[in-house]
């Protein structure tokens, strides 16, 4: 079994995994944010939040003490987001 160095593990978590988590959060937020009076809050606010969400996931992965825990947190966030989307689509 290939054992990755900590640098490579952190690169994978801060790179692809942090991006995936941010994209899933972007897709999840329309189901969580109310559409508001103009019927656009659930569309516009996730798009505005995307760069900030990615920055948060990226820097969290960069400065976390335990990279395995960071990977688990981001994977959990992704799974929870996918769950919310699946639940919302099932209700439509």
């Amino acid at each position: 079994m290939i054992r990755l160095s900590e640098t490579w593990q952190r690169t994978l978590v801060a790179g692809p995994l942090a991006l995936l988590a941010a994209v899933v959060v972007l897709a999840t937020l329309p189901h969580l944010i109310p559409e508001g009076a103009g019927r656009v809050d659930n569309l516009v606010l996730p798009v505005i939040a995307f760069p900030l969400v990615w920055s948060a996931t990226f820097f969290y992965a960069c400065i976390a003490d335990n990279i395995s825990r960071a990977a688990a947190v981001l994977a959990g966030l992704t799974a929870a987001g996918l769950g919310v989307i699946a639940h919302s689509l099932a209700l439509i």
Partner: protein
Amino acid sequence: MSFLDQKKTKRLFAIHGWSGIALGVLLYVIVLTGAVAVFAHEIGVWSVGGAANDKGLTQPVDRIIRGLADKVDPKYRDDVGAYTVESGALSVFFHTHETKPNGDIGDRGVRFLVDPATGSVLSRAEGWSSDIYGQDQASALKRFLIDLHVQLYLPSPWGLILTGILGLAMMVAATSGLIMHRHILKDIFVAPRPGNLLLHARDRHVLAGTWGLPFAFLLAFTGSFLSFAFTIGMPIVSMSAFGGDKMLVGEILGGHAQTEDKTPAVVTNLDAVLADGQQRAGSAPTYIHVGHWGRADAKVGVWFEPPAGDLGFLQLGFNGVSGAFEGQKPRVGSKPSFGATASSVLTALHYGLFAGLLSKIIWLSLGLASCYVILTGMVMWFTRRREDPAWAPWTRMVPAIGYGLPLAMLVSAHFYFQAIGRSDTATWTPWGFALATLAVIAAAVAMSDRVELTRRLVLATAISAGLLPLARMMAGGRSWGEAVAIGEPVVVSIDLLLLIAAAALTWHWKGSPQPQWLRRRLAAAAQPEPAE
């Protein structure tokens, strides 16, 4: 300020450096062209020599638009947009929304350019809006600079995605710079230490970076939002929440009427609507749009310059048949909302147009300061590695891009003026930029002496800037006397700025260190002749 241990600080330092060096060149292109693009309107006015008729939409346009509507295919009367271009001509675009061959929704129709004083049609073009506006010759220089900033002159959506990624990289550089800062208050007043090149570059980088941090983060965040909004953000959101129905999402964002009434009806008097709106807004109208022309459900939207105390452009809505005022319309959606306000504020903060000339000058200055931070960061990176043979040749990259980019932008303007009046101005303007870029790269590869390369690029930039006002006038542009006579200050102002820049660069060139070959020759000449 830093709350990180040494290991994490070191990690962030590496991220800060690599994010800057890997994307620094493109970041510099984005930031410098963005700083210049704040004055895009003024550059457009300058490039066409100003407008003899600058009344815009405050002059009667109803009769002209109504007359043109009778001449177009009824299917293109779905939407009509009108505004005045930099030359003073009235642009009227009758169009409908259709699906392009690539699946995107686009505007297809007929665009007229009209003399608003006489009503005579100056030009007529039919097709997709992107093709029509892309071939507009008079605004080619302005559009090229904006396109370079917005999407690096790459095809959509790839250019936008790349500039969005660059925005994220700038956010990373700014945030990591802030987090690992140990003495942020002290560094606001740090004095660059003379002597040691690395320390001097570091102090200048820290000083400019500390002052510019909030601005750099703001621009990076808002730019990233704008680049990703319609390339990644909206497609993902519409796929997740609306099953990918782009047309429905477009309708919701546009705030269009949900109930249709195709009963034929006469469109209200647009001059009366413009006058009414101007009185309500207290600022000049910039754009008028009529949706569902000739139908009972017609709507008129009028955009105004940001009123005093407001950040964004103001949009007022009117009934398209009765002309009755229906209220202020948000940037997105049908009613004011938090999302619409947030979107407007972020867009206004990115463009920097909200306080007229003052905010434009501040945005330009802070943009140039960010360029300085990028360049000094590169100087530090290469200075640390100057003993490494693999990195040594790359030290020439700093002057090559630092002076090369402004030089290439000036050369593109020279090409624009040489081609103006022809049908291929929009083609030659980017070619001028590309050829100048290739020449700078060739010079950077050929010259091993960084000092000599810098001197030559400074001189070339000075000559290019100094000759540009002359090139503009020789291409048929208005002289200073003519520009003053029509009350247009922009033409003279930009010409003067170019001449001042040329003089400053010439002064810098004269005072800069001499290249090695000249130093050797002078040293040889100073040696005493051997006694015979």
